[in-house]
C-alpha cells in the first residue's frame, strides 16, 4: 500500500483507504475517491503539482498534500488479493496505457 501522490503518471491503482480530516474525506468520497475505486494518474501540472487524476470518468486535480492522505494499491496487488472485478469504467483507455507501460 502506498500514498496516491507516489503513483507514477500513466499508471492505475485501486483506492484502499483515506486518512484525511473527516470533512475532506467526506468531500473526496463524494467526488469518487472512495475505497475500491480505480484511479489513474493522468498528468502533472506544468509546475509539477497539482496532479490530475482520472476517477469515475472524471478528471480531478489534487495537490500533493491531499493525495498523500489517500492510500492505494497497485492493480496487480489488488486483484491478487481479491478476484472481484469492478465494472469497466471510462478509465479503460488510460488503464490499457498503464498496462502497456508496466
Amino acid at each position: 500500500m502506498f500514498a496516491l501522490n507516489l503513483l507514477p503518471v500513466g499508471t492505475a491503482a485501486v483506492i484502499q483507504e483515506l486518512e484525511l480530516p473527516e470533512p475532506v474525506e467526506h468531500h473526496l468520497m463524494h467526488m469518487g475517491f472512495s475505497p475500491e475505486a480505480r484511479v489513474v494518474a493522468v498528468r502533472r501540472a506544468p509546475a509539477g503539482d497539482p496532479t490530475v487524476y482520472a476517477i469515475d470518468g472524471m478528471e480531478i486535480a489534487l495537490r500533493r498534500e491531499t493525495a498523500r492522505g489517500i492510500l492505494v494499491k497497485s492493480l496487480e496487488e489488488h486483484t491478487g488479493e481479491q478476484k472481484s472485478a469492478l465494472p469497466a469504467e471510462a478509465n479503460s483507455r488510460a488503464e490499457r496505457k498503464a498496462r502497456q507501460l508496466a
Binding site: 468531500h27 467526488m31 472512495s34 475505497p35 501540472a45 509546475a47 497539482p50 490530475v52
Partner: protein, 637 residues
C-alpha cells in the same frame, strides 16, 4: 435598468397546499449543466438575490420557458451530497425541507444528472429521493452521451429509482416537454408511475455514508446497463498541449496578456467614450432644469455620481465576456491548475488568479468573479486583497501627480523613463500589499481552511452565445442594481453635505461647506503626511470613487475645466512638497477609496463586517505608508 426590474418575479407565499404544485426546485451536482437548463426553463424572467445570512445566491424564476409561468423554479447551488459539509449543501437542505427563511416550501424536484458521468452523479440521487418529494430525474447531455457511444436503459432506471426519468439536453433544449408533462400529471393527482411505485423496488442506501451511496450507485448503474461514453480523445490531446510542460505556461501567459490587453486597450476607450456620452447628456439636461439647486442635485450630485460608476460598465461586461468564454470552454480550470503553484505561495489557490488579474482593471468585477472559488476562506481572502491591485480608477491621480512632480528623465539609457518607472513602482507596491495581506489573512483569521484544493477539469466545450449572453445580463444587472441603490444614496448624501450650511439662501463655497469644514478639521491629522486641507477635502470626496479627487482638486484650485489638466499640475506643484505628492500617490495605492467596491464586498460576503474591516485596514495601511513616504522623501530629496 436590468431586465429583472421589468419582469417582476415574486416567490409564492403561504403554506404548502397538498397535491398542488407551486414551487419546483432544480437540484444537481456541480457541472451537471444545471444553470444552462435553468436559463432555458425560465427565460428572462429570473431574479438573483442572496439567501438571508449566507453568501449563497438564490436564483429563482417563473417556468415560462415551458409555458408554466404560474410555477416558480428555484435553482439550488450545485452540490455533491446533502451532508451539511458546505454552506451550499446546508442551504440546499434547508430549502428542500422548507426550513429556509424567505424561501417557499418545495413541492417538486427536478434532479439534473450529467449522463456522461451518470454512475457518480447517481450518488446524489439517493439522498434526494429519500426526501420523498415528487421528483423527475433529468439525464442531461444525453445527446452527447449517445453520440459518444454511451447508453442507459431509462425505463429500468425509472423502476430502480421509483420516479420518472427523462433524457434531455439543456444546451439544445431537447426533451424538455417531459417537464410540463410531469408537472401537469402531478398537479392532476395522477401518478405517472403508479404501477412502478407499487412494486416498491426502491432500496435506498444508509443516509450520510458516502461508501454505501457509491455501492448503491454502482449497483443501479450496472442494473440499468449504463455504459459510460468514451471521453473524447481530443480533450486529453488538447490537455497535452494546454497543460504541457512548455506549451502550457506559454499559452497561459498569452491568454493572460490577451485578457489584460483587451480590457485595457478596448475596454478603456469604451469607458472613456461612455463617460463623454454620459457627461454630455448630463450637461445637455442641465440647462433645462429649474430651480438651480435641483439642477445641481440632479446633475452634479446624482448624475455625475452614478455616471462615475456607470462608465465602468463596458469594461465590466467585456471582462465577464472573457471570463465567461474561459469558463464555458473549460480553460479556466486549466488556468487555475497552472497558476496554483504560484498562488499557493501567497496562501491562495489557483482559482484566485483570474479574479486578481481582473482587479487590475476594476476591483468590482474581480470581486464578483471570485464566485468560481468554492472554498469560502480562499474566496474571502481573494475578495479582501483584490482592491490592492492597481485599478484603472487610480490612474487619473497617478498620472496627474507624476506629470507634476516627476521629471521626464530617461533611466537605463532610453529603455525606461523615470515617470514610467514611478508608475510601475506604484503597480508593484499594490501587488506587494496584496501579497502581504493575503499571507496575513491566511495565517490568522482565514487560516487552515478545512476544504482542500480540489479542482474538477471539465471536458472542453464550445460556449454558446445564449449562455454567454445570460451571464452578461446577470452580472450587468447585479452591477446596475448596485449603482442604482447604494451608490445613489451615498452620492446624494455627499452632495448634501457639500451644500450645507446655506449662506443667505445660497450654497456655500466648497471650502465653507460641511465637507470643507471637515477637510480643515482633519488637516492636523493629515499634516504629517505632507497634505494640506485641500488635499484633505479631495481625500474625503474620493471616498466615493478614486478618480473623483482630480475633479475635486480642480474645483478647489479654481481652474477652468478647459485648462484644468495643465493648470492643476502647476497649482499642485506650488502647493505640495515632493514628499507630500509622493505620499499622496502611495496613499492612493493602499487606501480603499471606492464605495462601489465596498458595496460589492458587502453584497458578496453578505455582511457589513468585511467591508468595514477592509476599509479600516486599508486606511490605516495607507496612512502609515504615506507618513513613511513623506518623511523619507522629505529627508533625502
Amino acid at each position: 435598468m436590468s431586465c429583472h426590474a421589468t419582469a417582476l418575479v415574486d416567490l409564492p407565499t403561504g403554506p404548502r397546499v397538498v397535491g398542488q404544485i407551486r414551487t419546483v426546485a432544480l437540484v444537481g451536482p456541480p457541472n451537471s449543466g444545471k444553470s444552462t437548463l435553468f436559463n432555458r426553463l425560465t427565460g428572462m424572467r429570473q431574479k438573483v438575490a442572496n439567501y438571508p445570512g449566507v453568501t449563497v445566491e438564490q436564483h429563482y424564476g417563473k417556468l415560462s420557458g415551458i409555458r408554466r409561468p404560474d410555477l416558480t423554479l428555484i435553482d439550488l447551488p450545485g452540490i455533491y451530497s446533502l451532508d451539511s459539509y458546505s454552506e451550499d449543501a446546508r442551504v440546499a437542505v434547508d430549502v428542500l425541507q422548507g426550513t429556509m427563511a424567505g424561501s417557499p416550501p418545495v413541492d417538486a424536484i427536478l434532479l439534473v444528472l450529467d449522463s456522461l458521468h451518470l454512475q457518480r452523479q447517481l450518488m446524489l440521487a439517493a439522498p434526494i429521493l429519500a426526501l420523498k418529494l415528487p421528483t423527475l430525474v433529468l439525464l442531461n447531455m444525453s445527446d452527447l452521451m449517445e453520440v459518444r457511444g454511451g447508453a442507459v436503459d431509462t425505463l429500468a432506471l425509472a423502476q430502480e429509482l421509483g420516479v420518472p426519468v427523462a433524457k434531455i439536453s439543456g444546451a439544445r433544449g431537447v426533451g424538455l416537454e417531459a417537464i410540463p408533462r410531469f408537472l401537469n400529471q402531478r398537479d392532476a393527482q395522477v401518478d405517472p408511475l403508479a404501477g412502478v411505485a407499487a412494486t416498491q423496488r426502491l432500496e435506498l442506501p444508509v443516509v450520510g455514508n458516502a461508501r454505501s451511496y457509491r455501492q448503491w450507485a454502482t449497483g443501479v448503474s450496472t442494473r440499468t446497463r449504463y455504459k459510460a461514453p468514451l471521453s473524447p480523445e481530443w480533450t486529453r490531446k488538447l490537455d497535452g498541449v494546454l497543460l504541457g510542460r512548455v506549451t502550457g505556461p506559454i499559452i497561459f501567459l498569452l491568454v493572460v496578456l490577451g485578457v489584460f490587453q483587451v480590457v485595457f486597450s478596448v475596454g478603456l476607450p469604451f469607458s472613456d467614450w461612455s463617460q463623454n456620452l454620459l457627461n454630455n447628456a448630463g450637461d445637455g439636461l442641465g440647462r433645462h432644469i429649474h430651480p438651480a439647486w435641483l439642477d445641481s442635485l440632479l446633475i452634479d450630485g446624482i448624475w455625475k455620481g452614478v455616471a462615475s460608476v456607470l462608465i465602468f460598465l463596458p469594461q465590466i461586461l467585456l471582462l465577464f465576456l472573457f471570463i465567461g468564454v474561459l469558463e464555458d470552454t473549460g480553460y479556466l480550470a486549466r488556468a487555475a491548475l497552472i497558476a496554483d503553484r504560484v498562488m499557493r505561495l501567497i496562501g491562495l489557490n489557483g482559482k484566485a488568479f483570474i479574479p486578481l488579474l481582473s482587479a487590475y482593471a476594476c476591483a468590482v468585477p474581480a470581486i464578483m468573479a471570485t464566485r468560481t472559488i468554492e472554498n469560502k476562506r480562499d474566496r474571502f481572502a481573494t475578495i479582501l486583497v483584490a482592491p490592492f491591485m492597481t485599478c484603472s480608477a487610480r490612474l487619473p491621480i497617478y498620472l496627474l501627480v507624476i506629470a507634476a512632480f516627476v521629471p521626464n528623465r530617461r533611466l537605463l539609457g532610453s529603455l525606461l523613463g523615470l515617470q514610467a518607472a514611478v508608475m510601475l513602482g506604484l503597480y508593484v507596491l499594490g501587488f506587494l500589499a496584496a501579497l502581504f495581506t493575503a499571507r496575513l489573512l491566511k495565517s490568522s483569521v482565514l487560516k487552515a481552511s478545512p476544504a482542500p484544493f480540489i479542482l474538477e477539469l471539465p471536458q472542453y466545450r464550445l460556449p454558446t452565445l445564449r449562455g454567454l449572453g445570460m451571464r452578461l445580463v446577470d452580472r450587468g444587472g447585479v452591477f446596475l442594481k448596485q449603482a442604482g441603490t447604494i451608490i445613489l444614496a451615498v452620492t446624494i448624501g455627499l452632495w448634501m453635505l457639500s451644500h450645507v450650511p446655506l449662506h443667505g439662501g445660497h450654497f456655500p463655497e466648497l471650502a465653507n461647506s460641511f465637507v470643507g469644514k471637515v477637510g480643515r478639521w482633519i488637516e492636523p491629522l493629515i499634516h504629517p503626511l505632507g497634505f494640506n486641507w485641500k488635499i484633505g477635502i479631495g481625500l474625503l470626496s474620493s471616498v466615493i470613487a478614486r478618480e473623483v479627487i482630480v475633479g475635486t482638486l480642480g474645483t478647489l484650485y479654481g481652474m477652468d475645466p478647459q485648462t484644468q489638466a495643465l493648470g492643476l499640475q502647476q497649482a499642485l506643484h506650488h502647493d505640495l512638497t515632493l514628499g507630500g505628492a509622493m505620499a499622496l500617490v502611495v496613499f492612493f495605492a493602499f487606501a480603499m477609496q471606492c464605495t462601489s467596491t465596498l458595496a460589492v464586498v458587502k453584497r458578496e460576503t453578505n455582511s457589513w463586517r468585511w467591508p468595514i474591516v477592509q476599509f479600516v485596514y486599508m486606511s490605516v495601511l495607507a496612512y502609515v505608508a504615506a507618513f513613511v513616504t513623506n518623511q523619507v522623501v522629505s529627508r533625502f530629496f
